[in-house]
Every structure is written in structure tokens, then in C-alpha cells.
């Protein structure tokens, strides 16, 4: 029983990180239909910046803020430079564009921070054991902050005018323009939000899961799978998807084969997409003829 609880705890904790990344995907997709393949790199970058900041003596909260701010700026710049200029965005274009940025970011991180992984200093708190389950303080931080963030984001999109306006952009871009919502500004804002979410994921995860120049790939892809489970347009879905994925990974690694851990996400993705493409896929169906 303790084993199960231990695995669940580990699963929920990593799942929470996936949730944050997944929400970042949803934020951008709901506004512009772009899938941001650089989302994982946002997280990795935040972790590395925070590590450097604490390494040069800054107190942890300042380092965190600095990391988050840096990534938000990077995300905004990315939108301005690569997404905004494109008049007609197609799937092919958006994949290749974000892939290019993701690769460039990865390489930049490699050049600046080198190939090794580093861990951020864990947030304040002591590890303890409860009912035979070892609980790291960092787990609690991850869960608490993710929960708060999820609530805040949901509230933003469902209750505030700005949030609703953003959601309108993807569903009815023309109508949104007609009521005075600037698609360009909306897109920029959505990237900034995604940057924020990715950065939070990165700094929360770093003490436990380590940040390296290439840790963005796995994180980004798993975050995407989590977002897909939730339909790519639903924040609540992303939250559920992230947690489910994290727990599933942990259970498979524990009870089946630890080597299959990374494959779980993709098997899940393929199964879900193939079995329920209608429910998960928002088919912008047939052309209006």
C-alpha cells in the first residue's frame, strides 16, 4: 500500500508539472491555433536562469522572479518575431516555426549553460515521512503552486473580460475583431501567459527533476499529450490530463517496466487520438462550400 501511495505521490507531483506545461499549450492554441513546440524550452530556460541567479548569490524569491520574467520576455519576443509577421498561418508553418525556435533556444541554452544538468536549490521546507511514504517538501510546493495557478488561470479565462476575449479570438476571429479585440495583441498576450506558465513549471520542477539544455523536449511533449487528453482547448482538461498522465507514467514504471516510462505518454497519445479523434480533436471540419 505504501508503495502505491509513494508511486501516486511521485506521479501526481510530476503530473502537476505536466499540467502547467499543458496549460501553456492551451493558452496559445485557443487564441491562434498555433501549437508551440517550444513550450518545454520555456520551462528548461526558467530553471537554468534561476539556477544561475541563485548561484551568483541572489536570494531564491528574487531568482525565481528573474527567471519567470526572462522567460515571459523570451516568449513575447518569440511571438513578435516569428508568429506575428506570418499573414496566413498554416499547420505546417506553425510546426516548423516553433520547432525552429525550440531548436535555437535549446542550442542557446547549451552554449550558455553547458551540457550538464543542474538542480535548483529546493524551496524552503523539510522532507518528512508520512505513513511510510517519503514526502519531499518540494512535492508539496509543486502541488500547491500548481493548484493555485490552475485556479487562477481558470478564473481568468472564465470570469474576466480579458480572458473571455482571448477565448473568443480562436472561436470567432472576425467577430472578435469586430468588437475591438486586436488579434495581434491577443496572440502576444497568450504567448506571455504561456511563458509564465512554462516558467513556473520550470522553477518548480528544477530542484527535483533537474534542468538541462535538453530537458525541454520530454517536458514539452508530455505537456502536449496532457493538453490533448483535455482537448487542447480546455484548461480543466489540461489539468486532468496532466495529473492522469503523471500518475499513469509512475504506475507503469513501478509495476510494469521502468524502461517504458517515456513510451507511456506516446502510447496514450496515439490511443486517444485514434480511438476518440472526434471527442478530442476540434475538427475545423469541412471547408464552407
Amino acid at each position: 500500500m505504501t508503495d502505491l501511495l509513494q508511486l501516486l505521490l511521485a506521479g501526481v507531483s510530476v503530473g502537476a508539472v505536466y499540467t502547467l506545461v499543458a496549460m501553456g499549450f492551451v493558452a496559445i492554441y485557443t487564441v491562434s491555433g498555433v501549437i508551440n513546440l517550444a513550450q518545454g524550452e520555456f520551462a528548461a530556460l526558467a530553471g537554468l536562469v534561476a539556477i544561475s541567479a541563485t548561484g551568483s548569490g541572489l536570494p531564491l524569491p528574487v531568482a525565481l522572479l528573474l527567471a519567470i520574467l526572462t522567460v515571459v520576455i523570451v516568449a513575447a519576443v518569440m511571438q513578435r518575431v516569428t508568429i506575428a509577421p506570418v499573414k496566413r498561418m498554416t499547420t505546417l508553418l506553425s510546426i516548423i516555426l516553433t520547432l525552429g525556435v525550440s531548436t535555437a533556444l535549446k542550442a542557446a541554452m547549451l552554449l550558455i549553460w553547458g551540457p550538464e544538468g543542474h538542480g535548483l536549490t529546493p524551496f524552503p521546507g523539510t522532507d518528512f515521512t508520512l505513513a511510510g511514504v517519503a514526502v519531499r517538501a518540494q512535492y508539496l510546493w509543486i502541488l500547491a503552486v500548481t493548484a493555485l495557478t490552475a485556479v487562477a488561470v481558470t478564473w481568468f479565462y472564465e470570469r474576466t473580460l480579458l480572458g473571455k476575449a482571448l477565448r473568443a479570438c480562436a472561436e470567432q476571429p472576425t467577430a472578435a475583431r469586430l468588437v475591438g479585440i486586436s488579434i495581434a495583441r491577443a496572440s502576444l498576450l497568450s504567448f506571455a501567459i504561456a511563458g509564465l506558465l512554462g516558467a513556473v513549471a520550470g522553477v518548480l520542477a528544477s530542484p527535483v527533476y533537474f534542468s538541462a539544455w535538453d530537458s525541454g523536449l520530454a517536458l514539452g511533449l508530455k505537456g502536449f499529450v496532457a493538453a490533448t487528453l483535455g482537448g487542447l482547448v480546455s484548461i480543466r482538461g489540461a489539468v486532468a490530463g496532466g495529473l492522469v498522465l503523471g500518475v499513469l507514467e509512475s504506475l507503469v514504471a513501478g509495476y510494469v517496466d521502468s524502461g517504458l516510462r517515456d513510451a507511456v505518454a506516446f502510447i496514450v497519445l496515439i490511443v486517444v487520438l485514434v480511438v476518440r479523434p472526434g471527442g478530442v480533436l476540434r475538427q475545423h471540419s469541412v471547408a464552407r462550400v
Binding site: 516569428t82 499547420t91 510546426i95 525552429g100 531548436t103 542550442a107 552554449l111 517515456d262 487520438l273 464552407r288
Partner: protein, 644 residues
């Protein structure tokens, strides 16, 4: 700013006379370059060239998939690995001769692609891209976990190729060995692009619904190209494993798939040539960056070339979306004088003889199409609420009604674009509702569209050629081999000429379809539909945008088609023209059929008047006044915009 409104991201089709000389010359030059390269280049560059050729083969496959079929694959490396592992296993563990093993290995990669593609190719866009990425990861994991495949160390000890007692183990030798393989691979790819399959897929990229309605089985074609693309990747894997001598799970990893993508994009998705050019460019870039960056940034170590890759990928797709090939073509275009823009309008003679009669067609008067209690709901809205009628061979049947009456929705349900919520559609006694449009087309029925769906990336001729898709048969294999398909291509060319002459577009044959004025584009759609030699033709507002003279011409054409035994269903706002032309008329209002009869009957039907004019049933009006009112009302509707 980037002009990405019309990026040449697809292989150009539609031949011109000048091409006939350019292409074989191009191939000859290419062959010459391949032969001469190892002689002139220093050894390290030849080493790079070997990798360029190996990866280039995979990139050709990817360009076929992405450029032709419009599908992004982030998992090309997965099939690369399958080919590599297959070859390694057969050669080292089972002592299978190299060439036989290569055939099996490539076949294996294609088989995996088929199995995986059947479910996967129902996905679109991002989902397919990420599913293929997932595939790469799954292959890596399987290879890592399998002791049979050598787990993480993989398989090693694959020898260099030996033919006739000579080992090909220096870079120059291996380069020459690969050259004919790459040459043939390129040739086959180019043939696929230029042939019937390429044409069909290009059409799908421009307008999937139109292609389907012309009989293109989108899903199956995409699957075929996916499998072929995997075959190319597998072949590259075979070449790889004989050069490196070792294969391990890294062969399927994501960065390699990205590298293939970069090669395709940089070279230009619009051309399979681009894949090879891109491969050389990327490998040279790789080498160059690896030596350059540590000098610029001392202490920089590692996959430093990635920064170059990322920047180049983004920059290319933003500023030069057509890649190197695109740049080359725009340079050429600037040098070549543009052809004169106005095409002559070839006026068909005043001929009223029957057109496009077909021996196998049902006799005039036989019911061809039957629509029973057709219902379609969108959420809470009932667009069509129980419509029934039948259409007979050798008649012109008109479907009219105010805006929002459900006419186009009916068309969509009949042609398979939408599935009905209730009710059924019967074509020649067979039930076809809910089937995909290409099934409708296969039953010799097709349609045109209210919102034009011409194929913008090709010429007028190219558009009509797609219409011949079902009247020709060359599949992927025959297309690839060219020679057997040549005769068929000539026949297609001939039919296209004839069809164009019919509608008066012969003078515009080689103009890009997108350059035509709106009215001519409508005619183009009709010509394209006629090329299919249908028994049933659905026309959705064909007269919109046509001048008075053009309308008369079209009406004459339709009469000639009727005389030949075709059934034509017409949705039109030009009520006068419709009443003069049609044999029977059905009137829809608010999703319901409110009248069905001859034009005379409809002219006087009070329900029709009420629908158009909002007038009470028992208010009497004279004949002329009626027609005037109806016509004026219809004209008003027309002026206010579309939507039926």
C-alpha cells in the same frame, strides 16, 4: 515581411514546353555532379557528401510526404531506424546477402508504415505530426528494451558493401556506390510528383473537398505516400548502417527527424530536388558550424550546430518559405519574360448537338438520384427538415429558394460532404448517403461549389486534369515508372484539351488558375466536373459572376448535356434563367420543400410567392407582376450576398 500567402510549398505541376528540355538536362547535370564530386572535393568534404547522400534519400521521402501530401512528419527517423535495424539484423545475424536484405529491410519499413499509417492518417495537422514524433520515441524505446535488437548498444559489425570482390569502404567509393541509388530515388520521386498521384494529392492540398468530389480517395492516397516515404527512409537506413557499421536506438531519435525536416525545408518543399540540395546544405552547415562556433565562442562544445539549425529553420520558413528551390525558381522567373496575360477566348460554334453522351448511361427519364426525407441538424438548428425529390436522367432539375433555405446543405448531403441526420440518398438504386464524396464520384456523379474550390496551385489545364482522375488508372507504381503511364498521360492531355474547348477556356489552358477572373473560374470548375464524364452533375450557383453572354453560353452547354442524357441539378438565384432552362423545379424554404413541379406550375404557386415575397397566400397578383416581383426579390437576395 514574409509573403506566406502563397508559399510554394508544394511541387509545381502543369508542364510547359520549356520544361521538357530542362528536366532531362537537369538530371544529366546532376548525374555529372555526382560523378565528379569525389574527384574534386577534399576527402573530409567527400565524407560529408556521403552523409548528405545517405540522409538525402530520407529527405526525398519526407519532401514527398510534406510537400506533396501536405503532412508533417516528425518521425521520419523511426522508419530510418527500422530499415537500419532490419538490415543490420539480416546481414549480421542471418547472413543474408546485402542486396536481398536491403529489399527486405525497406519492405519492413514500408510495412510498419502501413500498419501505423492506417490509424494515424485519419489524423490531421498537429496531431499527425506529434503522433509521428511519438512513433519515433516508441521505436527508440522498443529498440532500447529489446535484447534481440542489442538493447542500448545496438547491433554492430555490419561490414562495408562488397561487390565483385571489391570493398567500398573509402568515402569516395561509397559516394559513387550511392550515386546511382540516389539518382534513381530522385527520378522515381519526381515521376510520382508529375504523375496522376502527384496531381491528385496536389489537388487535395488545395481543396480536399473538391478533390474528393472528383473521385480522389484522399485517405488512401495519403497512406500510399506515407508508405512510400517510409520506404525512402528505410533505404537511407540501409545505406547508413553499411557506412557506420553500427546501429543503436539513437537512430530513431527526434533530433535526426528534425534534421531531415530541415533538409526538406531548406532545400524547398516544392521540389524533390530540394531534398538533395538541402541535404548537402545541411551537412555542410553542420560541419562548418562545428568548426566555426568553438572559434567564435571558445569553450563552446557540443551540438553547437543546433543553434545554426534552429535559426536557419526559422529564418527559411519566415523569409524564404520555398527554400533554395524557391529562390532558384524566382530567379529564373525574373530572367524569363512573363507570358502574355490575356488568353484568347475560344468561342465555340453555335452548336446544339448533344454533348458527352455515354453508352452506359440510363435512358432519359429513368430516375437517377433519389432523395428521401433528408434531414440535417446543426446543434439546435434544423437546416433541412425532411426533403424528398428525385432527379431523372436527361433532365435539368432546379433547386431554388431564398437564402438560408438549405439548398447547399442538400447538395452537401447528396454529394457526401455531409452526412444526413436522418433520411437517405439513393443513386441508381444504391444507397450512398454518409459515404465519402469520392464514392459519389465513382458512381459518376460530381458537383461544383458555391464558394469556389479551384486548385490554386496549378494551371487551368492542371485543374481539369484532376477531373480525369477516375478516368485514368495509373497508381503509384506505374506513375513512378513513367513509361507505362505515358500513354495514359497523353490521353488525359487530349481529353483535357477537348473539355477546355467545350467551355471556351482553351486559350487560358496554361494560365495559373488563380489568375483567372471570377467568372472564368466558375467555368473552370464546370469543365473540371465535366472531365469526370458524370451522369449526374450538381451545379451550385454556376451563373454567379457570369456576364449575360456567358450565362447564355452556359445555358446552351447545359441543354446540350441534357440532350446527351446527363442529369443536371442546378441551384441558382437567377430565377428567370432557371425557369427558362429547367425541366422541373423544386423550391425550398426554411429547410422544407414547399413546391415541386414544372416551371409554369412554380411560377404560379402561391406558397412560392409567399416564401419569396412574404405575401399572404390569398393576395392575387397578375402573371407578369408576379414574375417581376419574384425576379426582383431574387435579385435583391443576390445583391445582398450568398449563403443558401
Amino acid at each position: 515581411m514574409a509573403d506566406t500567402t502563397n508559399p510554394p510549398t508544394r511541387p509545381a505541376r502543369g508542364g510547359t514546353a520549356g520544361r521538357r528540355f530542362a528536366e532531362p538536362a537537369g538530371f544529366a547535370v546532376f548525374a555529372l555532379l555526382l560523378v565528379v564530386f569525389p574527384l574534386l572535393a577534399p576527402e573530409t568534404v567527400v565524407n560529408v557528401g556521403v552523409y548528405a547522400l545517405i540522409y538525402g534519400i530520407a529527405a526525398i521521402g519526407l519532401t514527398l510526404l510534406m510537400g506533396l501530401a501536405g503532412q508533417v512528419s516528425l518521425g521520419q527517423a523511426a522508419f530510418f531506424a527500422v530499415g537500419a535495424y532490419g538490415q543490420a539484423l539480416l546481414v549480421t545475424r542471418y547472413q543474408v546477402p546485402m542486396v536481398v536484405a536491403a529489399l527486405v529491410a525497406v519492405g519492413l519499413a514500408m510495412l510498419v508504415a502501413l500498419l501505423v499509417g492506417v490509424p494515424l492518417l485519419r489524423l490531421r495537422g498537429h496531431y499527425l505530426a506529434l503522433a509521428t514524433l511519438g512513433l519515433g520515441i516508441i521505436v527508440t524505446v522498443v529498440a532500447t528494451e529489446s535484447d534481440y535488437l542489442g538493447a542500448t548498444s545496438g547491433l554492430y559489425g555490419i561490414g562495408k558493401p562488397e561487390f565483385g570482390g571489391r570493398r567500398y569502404d573509402s568515402p569516395a567509393e561509397y559516394f559513387w556506390l550511392l550515386s546511382p541509388v540516389v539518382f534513381l530515388a530522385l527520378l522515381v520521386a519526381r515521376n510520382i510528383v508529375a504523375g496522376r498521384v502527384g496531381r491528385a494529392l496536389g489537388a487535395v492540398n488545395d481543396s480536399e473537398v473538391a478533390a474528393e468530389c472528383l473521385g480522389v480517395n484522399t485517405y488512401r492516397l495519403r497512406l500510399q505516400v506515407f508508405v512510400v516515404s517510409a520506404g525512402y527512409a528505410g533505404l537511407a537506413g540501409v545505406a547508413f548502417v553499411h557506412w557506420i557499421g553500427v546501429v543503436n536506438p539513437n537512430a530513431a531519435n527526434f533530433p535526426l527527424s528534425v534534421e531531415f525536416l530541415l533538409m526538406s525545408v531548406l532545400g524547398g518543399l516544392g521540389s524533390v530536388w530540394g531534398a538533395i540540395v538541402g541535404a548537402f546544405a545541411v551537412e555542410l552547415l553542420d560541419e562548418g558550424l562545428r568548426s566555426l562556433i568553438p572559434t567564435l565562442l571558445p569553450g563552446a562544445v557540443g551540438e553547437v550546430q543546433l543553434i545554426g539549425f534552429g535559426v536557419v529553420l526559422t529564418a527559411v520558413i519566415l523569409f524564404v518559405p520555398g527554400g533554395i528551390h524557391g529562390m532558384w525558381r524566382s530567379m529564373l522567373a525574373r530572367l524569363r519574360r512573363p507570358a502574355p496575360g490575356i488568353g484568347r477566348r475560344v468561342v465555340s460554334d453555335e452548336d446544339d448537338s448533344p454533348l458527352l453522351a455515354r453508352p452506359g448511361r440510363p435512358a432519359p427519364g429513368t430516375p437517377l438520384l433519389e432523395v428521401r426525407d433528408l434531414v440535417r441538424r446543426f446543434g439546435g438548428v434544423t437546416a433541412v427538415g425532411g426533403v424528398s425529390f428525385e432527379v431523372r436522367a436527361g433532365e435539368i432539375f432546379a433547386l431554388i429558394g431564398p437564402n438560408g433555405a438549405g439548398k447547399t446543405t442538400c447538395f452537401n448531403m447528396i454529394s457526401g460532404v455531409l452526412a444526413p441526420s436522418e433520411g437517405s440518398v439513393w443513386l441508381r438504386g444504391e444507397r450512398i448517403d454518409g459515404r465519402k464524396p469520392h464514392v459519389f464520384a465513382r458512381a459518376r456523379a460530381t458537383r461544383t461549389f458555391q464558394n469556389l474550390q479551384i486548385f490554386r496551385s496549378t494551371t487551368v489545364r492542371g485543374n481539369v486534369a484532376v477531373g480525369r482522375h477516375l478516368r485514368s488508372r495509373a497508381g503509384l507504381l506505374r506513375g513512378a515508372l513513367v513509361l507505362p503511364a505515358r500513354r495514359e498521360e497523353r490521353q488525359i492531355h487530349q481529353s483535357v484539351e477537348e473539355t477546355l474547348a467545350l467551355v471556351g477556356l482553351a486559350g487560358d489552358a496554361d494560365r495559373p488558375a488563380a489568375d483567372l477572373p471570377f467568372g472564368r473560374q466558375r467555368l473552370l470548375e464546370i469543365a473540371r466536373a465535366l472531365a469526370l464524364e458524370p451522369d449526374l452533375l450538381l451545379l451550385d450557383e454556376p451563373m454567379a459572376g457570369l456576364s449575360g453572354g456567358e450565362r447564355r453560353e452556359l445555358a446552351r452547354l447545359l441543354r446540350r448535356l441534357r440532350a446527351g442524357g446527363m442529369a443536371v441539378v442546378l441551384v441558382e438565384h437567377d430565377v428567370e434563367a432557371v425557369l427558362a432552362l429547367a425541366d422541373r423545379v423544386a423550391v425550398l424554404d426554411d429547410g422544407r420543400l414547399i413546391a415541386l413541379g414544372t416551371p409554369e406550375e412554380i411560377r404560379h404557386d402561391p406558397a412560392v410567392l409567399a416564401a419569396y415575397l412574404g405575401v399572404d397566400d390569398d393576395e392575387a397578383l397578375t402573371d407578369e407582376a408576379l414574375t417581376d416581383e419574384v425576379t426582383r426579390a431574387a435579385a435583391r437576395e443576390l445583391a445582398n450576398g450568398d449563403g443558401a
